[in-house]
Symmetry: C2
Subunit: 367 residues, 2 copies
């Protein structure tokens, strides 16, 4: 382990104390309750990063305990390298894993597998780069998996089974799906420059644009002007331009979504249209995935889960974006089963890791 | 001068040699042909920054010579602080002014006035901050003016007179106008986050989005896919996401406009619609300014110039965005007079400086 501890000494300093404690426990015969090791599951979104620890269940157990024991949980900031850059993303990931292990009073030698569901993984080269970060942190025998955060989000709605479609709409948005035969497809998730208009960022950017257009005479007046200026403590729409460019973080802009929802609820036409467009955009992403994977089957009656995750889709009062998106989906695909997950995406990532390890060990047995 | 030379010593090092040369010329009685001093005019766009030197014409001359003598010209990169950050923007401005003076064999002591027409100036606080940069560079007696680049662009079409409307569409876009009574108005120019869809950046971002949508099944197939991937040397639309975030410079994305125009010329429906939308967006900006300033007068017959500047508006072959925008403007405002400036915006900035100095000296005489 020592050669793996050097890169970021401060973050992992707690391990020395824990090692001494464990040695004492081991000598006294007192175990720590997770003798088969632990699994780390991470959900790395554009706003925050969550890490959970669950026990590793050996292959002899065919069913997972319900509820699943959550040994520890830690939260840190954004780990999307496209949003905050590589160095910050990597530091955040390491920090949140160290925090979780430290809370548990454990250390990296107890880890059997790590699964990272992380936004911004769009290409095999992204995956490989992040796997290399993990290889620097963990000893060679730890199983490491890096997936797009949408896959972990799907797994949190299906308890680890990769079948159906997931829609995430938080600061960013993406739709991802798996057919029973393992084929996969995605739509959206390309970021703000490339038109994710159903995301929290997209909704808020459109609202800011509407304020500018009302101000310079290109668009109709809207309640969004006063609402947003007040929320940001600004006195004129001119100041929005400087505000926008003062900090390029997507989450800062996406945080304005509640102002848009509140204006739409007060019957502001401009805000209402922005939300209706977002609903259409999110529905189109799910529709593209369902159709490419033919999830409904030939007779359009095969049932499949549609897992809905993220702040934009959570009930926002009278104007409920998630409910409207689901309504569109069920009108077009009556066999779709809406799922609001009971566990969080980080737990989905941990369950994915468990499934991957089980599958690999079965394949090794049969091979 | 010495206290003004210290901040960026390397850039201004040439002045010492010139000072010695000038002293020698002065002792030998040989002048440099601009005894009344010089004016610096700068056009700071999102792609490049141009600095020109013209002679200072004393108030006794009521008409400017035609053609205007251009003493020196220098070009540097982007100086929009919203795009490249303050430090880089400031360094670029200082560098391009030093280059122009060095080419002329002159130095800062010969400068009477500096006018900066610069994109990203959206609020009095932006103006004040950039004026402070200039105050650090020049001695106290030099007259300093900082304006939005649109105002210098208008001045280059009207030879310094602030009347009428200007539309700039390059990497960014903005419309700006002045009524005869001095009232001013602007539209757009808020940057990519805030919906400048008629800009080169906006056109190219929509084209990239169309490629992603065609790829993930949300939108129709388009020639833009092959055209853009080929131009960028990429093999799959998935790689566009990483490409987009690898470098946040707006100009890099806007450089794809010719690919969009070429697809539209080859009758690609998606590219064609992107350009038609851009034309509408640019027309709406001009319309908002004309109507707010009531440039047509009560009987809608007052004539006024509409100055058109920037790469997006220059003839692009069969599909000519500038021509289409002008067509819309003249259909709605028959008294508008299209102007394609014969001098560049940096010269407009220099003429503005001259006008400002003249106006101030007249006011001082009458005061």
């Amino acid at each position: 382990m020592n050669n793996h501890r050097q890169r970021n000494g401060d973050v992992w300093a707690f391990e020395n104390a824990h090692n001494r404690k464990q040695q004492a426990q081991s000598e006294s015969g007192v175990g720590d309750g997770y003798d088969d090791g632990i699994i780390l599951g991470l959900d790395g979104g554009t706003t925050s990063t969550v890490c959970v620890c669950i026990p590793f269940f050996p292959s002899s157990k065919t069913h997972l305990p319900d509820p699943l024991p959550l040994l520890a949980r830690a939260v840190a900031g954004c780990s999307n390298h496209n949003s905050v850059g590589e160095t910050a993303a990597r530091a955040t990931l390491e920090e949140v894993m160290a925090q979780a292990l430290s809370k548990l009073g454990s250390n990296r030698s107890a880890v059997r597998a790590v699964c990272l569901g992380i936004s911004g993984v769009n290409h095999p080269s992204d995956q490989e780069r992040i796997l290399n970060w993990l290889r620097d942190i963990f000893p060679g025998h730890v199983k490491l998996y890096v997936q797009n955060d949408a896959i972990a989000a799907l797994a949190c709605g299906t308890l680890g089974k990769l079948h159906g479609c997931v829609l995430i709409a938080g600061t960013g948005c993406i739709s991802y799906g798996f057919a029973e035969d393992g084929r996969e497809a995605r739509a959206s998730g390309a970021g703000p420059v490339l038109g994710d208009w159903g995301s929290g960022y997209g909704i808020a950017a459109k609202a800011l644009t509407a304020v500018i257009r009302a101000h310079d005479g290109r668009g109709p007046q809207t309640m969004l002007t006063n609402k947003i200026l007040k929320a940001l403590g600004l006195s004129s729409p001119d100041e929005l331009i400087g505000w926008t460019y003062a900090d390029p973080s997507w989450a800062r802009i996406a945080a304005l979504v509640p102002e848009v929802v509140s204006c739409a609820e007060a019957s502001d036409q401009v805000a209402n249209e922005i939300l209706l467009d977002a609903v259409q955009d999110l529905f189109l992403s799910v529709k593209a995935v369902i159709e490419r994977l033919n999830l409904c089957g030939e007779d359009r009656s095969a049932s499949f889960p549609v897992v809905m995750v993220g702040g934009v889709l959570e009930a926002n009062g009278k104007w409920d974006i998630g409910k409207e998106v689901m309504k569109c989906i069920q009108e077009h695909f009556p066999s779709a089963i809406p799922v609001r997950p009971q566990v969080e995406p980080a737990v989905g990532a941990a369950l994915l890791a468990w499934n991957f390890v089980m599958k690999e060990s079965k394949e090794n047995c049969h091979g």
